[in-house]
Amino acid sequence: AQSVTQPDIHITVSEGASLELRCNYSYGATPYLFWYVQSPGQGLQLLLKYFSGDTLVQGIKGFEAEFKRSQSSFNLRKPSVHWSDAAEYFCAVGADSKTSYDKVIFGPGTSLSVIP
């Protein structure tokens, strides 16, 4: 079965600064990896996903993530943060499998605050 950790519970950055949110996963095979964002009072919105191929993945809202197999990581980055990026961010890992253990697992989330 998979597992996901997000080491940072809360991060504060200044508007215009760069951002990196960390995600580490555990899975025996090549995983499917996702980043979601949740604004207050809203559901989770998919930012980007990695299935295979190029390890640098581009997503919506100017976000990107890099899959590093050797480090079991899938960190989310943005070169310049906007105040509207303040939200909760969830990393998730899944698999292309029919077994009940290979479901999508969500990390605990990282709360992002943006200082004007």
Partner: protein
Amino acid sequence: DAGITQSPRYKITETGRQVTLMCHQTWSHSYMFWYRQDLGHGLRLIYYSAAADITDKGEVPDGYVVSRSKTENFPLTLESATRSQTSVYFCASSEWWGRAQHFGDGTRLSIL
């Protein structure tokens, strides 16, 4: 518009009452899921469904019942609500088991 809708958005009820949360998706996705989100616990899977008439338990199924008579609908019922079931409930759908999930906006349920 295509998407996934949950109703109601907010619900207040009393302990012991039965309450049903509705979920409707327009993508014809095979898989549908119910999660609850609580501070300190993140997202926890309650039930999921692989297709119409096929449902299975997730991590925290006790006290909940689901059905899926049509592909597009996946209602969640609390048969006898308890205060511990006060939470925000999210419905999601996906094309396949391990693939990206699409979420509704949630139902905030308070049980007094």
